[in-house]
Structure formats: structure tokens, C-alpha cells
């Protein structure tokens, strides 16, 4: 990992690690969805930022993670969260494969619309098949063991704000390191090449279709893991998690943070989680303000929050050199 990025990551991990110690449990609890989104967005941005495919239906994989956790833990009594994570990751890959086979044949708006259609289809299935999915009531996601420990002495809030918080932080670091290796691998280079110029890439031996599909499947695995965290936190998987507006939420976070940077989407997830919480406590018109923020980011900060950091770092470097 490059020096500057490694320092930002280390500082970020330390700062996040101090939240449960220094801040009231409310804030640690608030940040659990951030971890879920950040992990999902690592995958989402492999598809969007690195491969050039913008999915408008990616929330279906978060839903798959949450519902997968409900089915495995709630219906089948699996107590280990690690087993559930592995299960939903596998399910994510298996579901993404046939959907991806169809979707990645297209690019641009056609890919976006197809993924949107699959997302809406998933929402309709979850909503209408009441006897299987609980319809709009959703399915309960029970409390699970983490690392084989039950934490019986902790109530749910204490569990979330303490052990589960650190567990999610560790999981984010682990998923981040794996993704860092992926984007800096020969495979990652070919993804960036095909995103830049697919025709040229093909003539250099880049398997454009297969690699788009592989990126789609990997992004689905990350989405499912993120979704399982969201489900664990709320204790419920309901159809709203796969609603198309939730897919839009993922796009929003990524654009806000900056999709051309590895850490951008994570910064976007953090910023939006905190911003949404603050706005909701101030005004019932918070969506209006979020919309205005998104518009402003697209117009004035096309590289997102990461772009500001990048410009700041470049200025500091120039000043130091002068």
C-alpha cells in the first residue's frame, strides 16, 4: 500500500477504533450501517469506478445478505455469524452469476437499466411472496455469535456498540485489504484497461466479457456481506433494503466520496451516514437537502470528497517543494 494511503487508512482505523471509547453508544451504533455500506461499496466501486459499469440495482445484493442472514440464522438456527457471512457471500456469487451473464453483455445506460430491472424484480418478489418472505413485514434476523462468542452479558445495544462494532471494523479492514490486492493485481489492471477502452483492451488479450462478469460477481459478494451486517444491526430484513431508492443511495455515497479513488466510496459512506443523521434531527425535509448536496457535488466536485483531499495533498506537496 502506498505511504500516504496507508497513513490515511491507519489514522482512519484508529479514529474509528476510538469512537466506542470516547463517544456515547449512540454514535458507535450509528456507525454500524456505515461499515455495512463501506464493505458493499468497496465491491460496488470495483464494478463502477474500476470496471466502468454503473449498477442501479445493487441493493438487491445487500438484500440478499440481509435475507440470507434471516434464512440461515432465523429459519435454520445457524448461530455463527461467520458461517452466515460465508453463506451469503456464496449465495451472492451464485445469484450474481446468471444475472451478470445477462447484464454485462451491455454497458452504459443499458447495463444500468437492466440492473435496475433486476433490483425492482427482487423487490417485487420479496414484497409479494408473503408466505416465504414475510412480505412488507420482512423476516427477523436473530442475534448471532461472533467469533464463537455469545456475549450473553451484553444487551443488543451494548453488543452493537462494543464487540460487534469492532468486529465490523475488522471486517472492513480485511475486506478493504482484499479489495486493495484485487485492484492492484493483473486482474485489476485489465479491469481498468477495459473500462478505459474496451476495443483496444480486447486486441491486447483482455477478456472483456469474462472480466466484467467477474467484477460483477465480486461486487455482489461484497454487497451480500454488507447486507448481512445491516440485517444483524436492525434485526430485520425487509423489502425496503432492495428498493431502487436504496440502490440510488449506494450510487449517492460513491459519487459523494469519489468513485475515481479507492477510499472515496468509504469516505462517502461515512459522510452520508453522519449527514443523514444530522439532517434527520434538524428537518423533516432532509431528503431535499441531500438532493441539493448531490447536485452540488456533481457540479462542483466531480471527483467527490476524495478529490478535495487529493487537491489538498497536491497543494501541500507543491508548497513544500517551493
Amino acid at each position: 500500500m502506498r505511504g500516504a494511503t496507508a497513513m490515511i487508512v491507519a489514522a482512519g482505523v484508529v479514529a474509528l477504533g476510538l469512537v466506542p471509547v470516547l463517544a456515547p453508544p449512540f454514535y458507535a451504533n450509528l456507525l454500524i450501517p456505515f461499515f455495512g455500506y463501506a464493505i458493499a461499496l468497496l465491491g460496488f466501486n470495483l464494478l463502477f469506478g474500476y470496471t466502468g459499469l454503473l449498477s442501479f440495482g445493487h441493493a438487491m445484493f445487500l438484500g440478499l445478505g440481509a435475507y440470507g442472514a434471516a434464512v440461515m440464522a432465523g429459519e435454520n438456527g445457524i448461530k455463527s455469524f461467520e458461517v452466515v457471512l460465508l453463506g451469503v457471500a456464496l449465495a451472492g456469487a451464485l445469484v450474481a452469476l446468471p444475472i451478470g451473464l445477462l447484464c454485462v453483455r451491455f454497458i452504459g445506460i443499458f447495463f444500468g437499466m437492466l440492473t435496475l430491472a433486476f433490483g425492482m424484480l427482487t423487490h417485487a418478489i420479496l414484497f409479494k411472496f408473503y408466505h416465504l418472505t414475510g412480505g412488507d413485514s420482512g423476516m427477523r434476523v436473530p442475534r448471532m455469535n461472533i467469533l464463537g462468542l455469545e456475549f450473553q452479558a451484553y444487551n443488543k445495544i451494548e453488543l452493537l456498540a462494543g464487540p460487534f462494532y469492532y468486529y465490523c471494523l475488522g471486517l472492513l479492514v480485511l475486506c478493504g485489504l482484499v479489495m486493495w490486492r484485487i485492484v492492484h493485481s493483473p486482474f485489476g489492471l485489465h479491469l481498468r484497461a477495459l473500462s478505459n477502452n474496451a476495443q483496444k483492451a480486447e486486441y491486447l488479450g483482455v477478456r472483456v466479457y469474462q472480466f466484467r462478469l467477474a467484477a460483477f460477481v465480486i461486487s455482489a459478494i461484497y454487497g451480500a456481506i454488507g447486507g448481512a451486517i445491516l440485517g444483524f444491526r436492525i434485526g430485520l430484513a425487509d423489502p425496503e433494503i432492495v428498493h431502487w431508492t436504496h440502490s440510488g443511495h449506494l450510487v449517492f455515497m460513491t459519487v459523494l466520496g469519489g468513485f475515481s479513488s479507492f477510499l472515496g466510496p468509504i469516505a462517502g459512506a461515512l459522510a452520508l451516514t453522519l449527514l443523514q443523521d444530522q439532517l434527520q434531527s434538524i428537518t423533516p425535509y432532509w431528503r431535499f437537502i441531500l438532493g441539493a448536496v448531490l447536485a452540488a457535488v456533481v457540479i462542483f466536485l466531480p471527483r467527490g470528497l476524495a478529490g478535495i483531499a487529493g487537491t489538498g495533498a497536491a497543494l501541500a506537496k507543491r508548497r513544500a517543494a517551493a
Partner: protein, 253 residues
């Protein structure tokens, strides 16, 4: 000598339009063959057939003895044929080193290595430096491709194709957009690079007859989808009918 690339009675129709009609040409090992012809003669169609992009309506296209009709760009690259495009094709946001590395990764069959660190791969790095050195791009390895000059972009486009270690390279108007003064220099670089890389045959699509005359062993002229001539430069340029058809006037000496 055996033909490395060959078309046998190839025709290609697009609806009612016959872009190529019963074309049989061959390129042998060690040859530098130019394909010329006026606009609409069928050059692009022939290139797309030779590179496995199109399937002929009739006839067959062979590369190293096997039929490559419609096999696609990736399979073709793997079998040892590389091509460049008339309009410069680069990866704007990739650096020079990354662009060449993309081809080297394909050539060394490392593309599915999801977790290996590319930057620590000595074999890839060495090959990237070697290719960049041949094309004089070794000082620009860390520059983003979009920031290169037009001439450098052209060199990078060709360099990345050479990085595949091809046996045959098809150059589609490599000097378009390059100043007249630089054209010979560029073609000379390409020929030297081809020799160093062990390329067995070069196919050049070119409008500039001076370049064609200077470097080709053989010239294939297409006109209205048919082979008008398949001759070495001397008899080719000595035939007034061919010259009249291909360039519409006598070539000045």
C-alpha cells in the same frame, strides 16, 4: 515459404453490398506486405476478416494453418496476431507502463491472478521496460497516456501491440496523423522493433505510397472489393493502370 496468413476465395457481403469478392491473398514468413487501395476498396473489411472480427460470407481465412473466421480479438491475440488501429487507441487514464503491462499480462497468461501484486512482478516489469525502451518511451513510463503527445500516443499504441510478442502484426495506417517528416522515422522504428521482437510478418495498410514503396516486399492493391494487383514494388509502380486506379494519378518519382 509457407503462408502464415492466408485468405482463400473470401467474399464478404453486407446486405446487397459486396465489400469483398473472391479475394485470395497470402502473407508468408519474413514478408512485409502492404495493402493499398482507394477508399471503399475493401481494405477495412479485409483487415477485419484477417483479424477474426468478421466471418466471411464465402471462403476461409487461415492464420498459421487454422481457420480463424470470427474467433475474436482475444483469441487472435493469444494465437500471435496483434493489430493497431488507424485512429490512435490508448487507455487515457492508464500510465505508459500500465498500458504496456496490460498486454504483457495477457501474453504471460497472468490476467486471472486476482491477488498477486502486479507491482512486484519482476517478469512483467522487465518486459515493460524492454518494450518501452524499444519505442523510446522509457522516460515516460509513469506518465498518464492522455498526457502524451500525439506521436508518443501512436508509439504507445503500437508498443502495446508489440508487447503481445506477436508473430504477425497488422498496422492499420500507423502514420495517419503523423507529420510527413516523422513518417519514415516511425516506420523504421516499427520495423526495427519487429525484428527485435521476432515478428515473422508485417501487414501494413497505408495510403502513403512513398512509405509503401520504400518498405514493402509485396503490395496488394484492392479495388471495388477485388484484388487488382499482388506484386513486388517495382512492377507494381511500373504499371500505369494500377497506379491510376489506386491513387488516381502517376506517382511522382
Amino acid at each position: 515459404m509457407t503462408a502464415i496468413v492466408e485468405t482463400k476465395n473470401v467474399s464478404k457481403r453486407f446486405g446487397d453490398f459486396r465489400a469483398l469478392d473472391d479475394v485470395s491473398v497470402a502473407v508468408r514468413e519474413g514478408e512485409f506486405v502492404s495493402i493499398v487501395g482507394p477508399n471503399g476498396a475493401g481494405k477495412t473489411t479485409l483487415v477485419n476478416l484477417l483479424t477474426g472480427l468478421l466471418i466471411p460470407s464465402n471462403g476461409q481465412v487461415f492464420f498459421k494453418g487454422t481457420d480463424i473466421a470470427g474467433i475474436g480479438a482475444v483469441a487472435l491475440a493469444k494465437r500471435g496476431m496483434a493489430r493497431t488501429f488507424q485512429l490512435v487507441q490508448i487507455f487515457p487514464q492508464l500510465t505508459v507502463a500500465e498500458t504496456i503491462a496490460a498486454a504483457v499480462v495477457s501474453q504471460q497468461d497472468k490476467a486471472w491472478r486476482l491477488f498477486s501484486k502486479l507491482a512486484s512482478d519482476g517478469a512483467v516489469r522487465a518486459r515493460v521496460r524492454e518494450i518501452a525502451g524499444i519505442f523510446g518511451l522509457d522516460g515516460r513510463l509513469k506518465s498518464e497516456s492522455r498526457l502524451l503527445s500525439q506521436g508518443e500516443k501512436k508509439l504507445l499504441d503500437v508498443a502495446s501491440a508489440f508487447a503481445l510478442n506477436p508473430e504477425v502484426i497488422l498496422l492499420d495506417e500507423p502514420t495517419s496523423g503523423v507529420s510527413t517528416a516523422e513518417k519514415h522515422g516511425l516506420v523504421q522504428i516499427l520495423i526495427d522493433a519487429a525484428k527485435k521482437a521476432g515478428v515473422k510478418a508485417i501487414i501494413l495498410i497505408e495510403h502513403d505510397m512513398d512509405l509503401v514503396a520504400a518498405y514493402s516486399h509485396r503490395i496488394i492493391a484492392l479495388s471495388e472489393g477485388k484484388v487488382l494487383a499482388d506484386l513486388p514494388p517495382k512492377p507494381f509502380f511500373a504499371d500505369p493502370v494500377i497506379i491510376e486506379t489506386v491513387i488516381g494519378r502517376r506517382r511522382s518519382t
